[in-house]
């Protein structure tokens, strides 16, 4: 177990004017389990990267000192050999990131866990016992020959955790380890983390309620510098709960009042009859009316995303038919420009939908394709920039936006062509509370204006708060071959 001491620590990324994090004084004792909170941009991820020794001197400017067991993580990078320490645990840090896909290196599970041990030069005779030990610790249920490509998101993240634990780090850093996972996968990871007892742990996580059983201390970073609050969870949330909730942290006990429609839905905008997609979606029939929010729920692999693509006119069903907007042809046969004027689709990963290098240009693409005049395009773009709090970012590159900003932009691009039907795939996934409330409010306003809204979602709060009707999709047939990724918000 490691002790962490920061004195006046700060870091400014090369080429940035503002400090990502500064003036942090913090002492974390052996074996403490700390939840690190703060609004988006407070520097939580930067602080973890610094502790993991991932901020080389030439990548920015440092202030103050940072020590793990008295050693600077930059000069004593990563985990040193556990063989040299008295208790068999090495000093130094191991870090787990959001996306399991970009943490796994090898084709077979056991090889992946062994990867870090090989890098440290652990003698081959020790490697495989330590691999099994690490896999046992996280509760990995498969043999070591299991292909890493055949794992679900939660299983892959468990494997990534095992790969870090195999190095026996005294300090375990977790940078939103469940943000990319569906609720089942997230539960797997929390279960693994809950059974760990031998590390000091620092966890960054937006979903506080789920993280609470894992931690015994909360540290809140102040954007612009310093530590705002530090102490046991109940005391910190009693004193700072409302302010944190306003800033986007999911503080337990702060619920959002329901925003359901009081009226019955209007006539169907789009109706699907017995639509099916081979291997991905069993036949279903449903309609989406004007002025309703329809939530499509169900387990992974039931074909929720596939159904969203079919309703959005993007994927041709292999069985059944889809009709809407009084058109004789199914939506997937419409020209793209016609489609965007009627149905807007918002993908799970906003970056998939970006096609220009500026936020304002991104919003102008749709209206231009519809043949709007230059004045009209400008008016539409300005309205949306204001409505979705993106005006300050009009000139920014869409790929540089935070998770919440990218989500707002992807919704705005769909709204730019004023479609009557909006189809969203996991719109609230990985969002902080502030973006979540903005999205919910926006969708309920659109609904009250007579738009039809379909949202594929795992998010129970979304269903409780804004959905007027729920369509539960059947059981899993097989794993959805489309990517279940989401870039999530960086903080």
């Amino acid at each position: 177990m490691s002790e962490v001491v920061l004195r006046g620590f700060g870091w400014r990324h090369a080429g940035r004017r503002a400090w990502a994090v500064r003036d942090v004084d913090l002492r974390i004792a052996h074996g403490e389990r700390v939840l690190l909170l703060g609004p988006s941009g407070a520097g939580k991820s930067t602080l973890l990267a610094a502790l993991a020794g991932l901020l080389p001197d030439d990548s920015g400017e440092a202030a103050g000192t940072i020590e793990i067991d008295g050693l600077d993580p930059r000069t004593h990078r990563g985990v040193r050999s556990p063989e040299t320490s008295a208790d068999g645990w090495s000093s130094g840090a191991g870090i787990v990131f959001q996306d399991p896909q970009t943490q796994l290196v090898m084709a077979r599970s056991g090889d992946d866990v062994a990867f870090g041990l090989e890098n440290r030069g652990v003698p081959p005779a020790r490697i495989w016992p330590w691999v099994s030990d690490a896999l046992d610790r996280v509760g990995f249920p498969y043999p070591i020959t299991r292909s890493t490509a055949a794992l679900s998101g939660g299983e892959a993240q468990r494997l990534a955790l095992a790969g870090v634990l195999a190095l026996r780090p005294g300090l375990l850093l977790l940078d939103e380890p469940t943000a990319n996972l569906d609720p089942d996968g997230a539960a797997l990871i929390r279960e693994s983390l809950g059974s760990l007892r031998d590390q000091t742990m620092i966890l960054v996580e937006h979903r506080v309620a789920e993280a609470l059983p894992l931690i015994d201390r909360v540290v809140v970073l102040e954007p612009g510098g310093g530590v705002r609050a530090d102490g046991p969870p109940e005391l910190v949330f009693a004193a700072y709960g409302d302010r944190l909730a306003d800033e986007g942290v999911w503080v337990p006990g702060f619920t959002v009042p329901p925003l359901k429609s009081g009226r019955t839905a209007g006539p169907d905008l789009v109706r699907a009859s017995q639509v099916a997609v081979a291997q991905r979606l069993a036949p279903v029939s449903l309609g989406v009316g004007e002025g309703e929010v329809l939530a499509v729920t169900g387990p992974n692999g039931a074909g929720k995303s596939t159904l969203a693509l079919v309703l959005g006119g993007l994927l041709a069903p292999t069985g059944g038919q889809v009709r809407g907007f009084g058109d004789d042809r199914p939506p997937h046969r419409w020209r793209a420009a016609t489609l965007t004027g009627r149905i807007g689709s918002v993908f799970q990963n906003p970056e998939h939908q970006f096609v220009t290098a500026r936020v304002a240009d991104e919003l102008a693409v749709g209206p231009r394709r519809l043949g709007r005049s230059a004045d009209e395009v400008e008016r539409i773009v300005d309205d949306l920039l204001d409505q979705l709090r993106l005006a300050k970012l009009a000139g920014a590159n869409p790929y540089t936006l935070s998770g919440g900003e990218a989500r707002r932009l992807s919704v705005a691009t769909a709204l730019a062509t004023a479609p009557r039907l909006l189809v969203l795939d996991e719109p609230t996934f990985g969002q902080d509370r502030r973006t979540w409330i903005e999205l919910i409010t926006l969708l309920s306003t659109l609904r009250d204006d007579g738009h039809g809204i379909v949202a594929v979602t795992h998010d129970d709060d979304f269903v409780q708060t804004v959905a007027d009707r729920t369509f539960p999709l059947g059981t899993a047939r097989r794993r959805d071959p489309l990517p279940q990724r989401h870039p999530g918000g960086r903080s």
Partner: protein, 266 residues
């Protein structure tokens, strides 16, 4: 793993079990000297030797055909090209097509090229059909002293390749959702293709960057000496494989030269 190059052979076959570096070296040393001649006999002998070796790699002929069928397209392409563009049209006239006379000379030249294509490609197909990518990377590092930074890095990148297919589909659908399609306009289709490919590249680079950071955090390429969890040993049998490959290749060329059929490429 869903890689196209998944090993499909019986791993206990005598040659499949050989060290990946030995297999790779044997394939190269056997097939490359054969390129030095234009006659059809050399590649024919080489191909016969290769086909005779197939069972020792634990590969069934049906599997080999399934793996190598794209070569048939290449062979057909070569045949058409030779019939259309061959400069020398000597030998007996077989089919009178005006400027595209099909003569024995043209067919012999085409046959030579087609046999060369197969003779060079089949060893590669055999090696990759019988070699696990992880084993290859391990052997490259341990036996061929390739830098781990390169071999393991390439292996990690390789693991991300299958994601690109799904990513391409999402990007294509996402563009349609944004109101962008090409219709029947080939220029627009090309621009759409380029912009989608660019987005794919940007996404791949970002993923690669994240992977690199994660590997970094686990101490990859930190300058400390690595240990090996999986030992790859270069045995006498591996040396024998490489030596046999060189010997067979030399023998093949010797036969051609002694029969006076050797036609150097330059």
């Amino acid at each position: 793993m869903t890689l196209a190059l998944q090993a499909i052979a019986d791993p206990s076959a005598p040659l499949a079990r050989r060290n990946p570096v030995a297999k790779l070296a044997a394939a190269l040393l056997f097939s490359l000297p054969l390129i030095s001649t234009l006659d059809p006999l050399t590649p024919a002998i080489a191909l016969a030797i290769e086909l005779a070796a197939v069972p020792f790699f634990g590969v069934r002929y049906a599997t080999l055909v399934r793996r190598a069928w794209p070569l048939l397209i290449g062979a057909f392409g070569l045949l058409v090209t030779m019939v259309l563009f061959a400069a020398e049209r000597n030998g007996t006239l077989l089919l009178d097509l005006g400027p595209f006379d099909v003569t024995t000379g043209v067919l012999t030249a085409a046959l030579g090229l087609i046999l060369r294509l197969f003779a060079v490609a089949v060893p590669g197909v055999l090696v990759f059909a019988t070699t696990d990518p992880t084993d290859l990377a391990d052997a490259l590092v341990q036996n061929a002293k390739a830098p781990a930074r390169f071999a393991i890095g390439a292996l990690a990148a390789f693991r991300l390749l299958p994601l690109l297919g799904a990513e391409w589909q999402m990007l294509t659908l996402a563009r349609r959702a944004r109101g962008i399609d090409a219709g029947h306009n080939p220029v627009a289709a090309l621009r759409l293709f380029v912009s989608t490919a660019f987005a794919l590249l940007v996404g791949a680079l970002r993923r690669g960057g994240r992977l690199a950071v994660a590997m970094d955090a686990r101490g990859f390429d930190s300058g400390a000496p690595r240990s090996y969890a999986r030992r790859q040993i270069f045995r006498p049998a591996d040396t024998a494989l490489v030596v046999s490959a060189v010997a067979l290749s030399t023998l093949t060329l010797a036969v051609t030269i002694s029969l006076g059929l050797f036609r150097p490429i330059i």
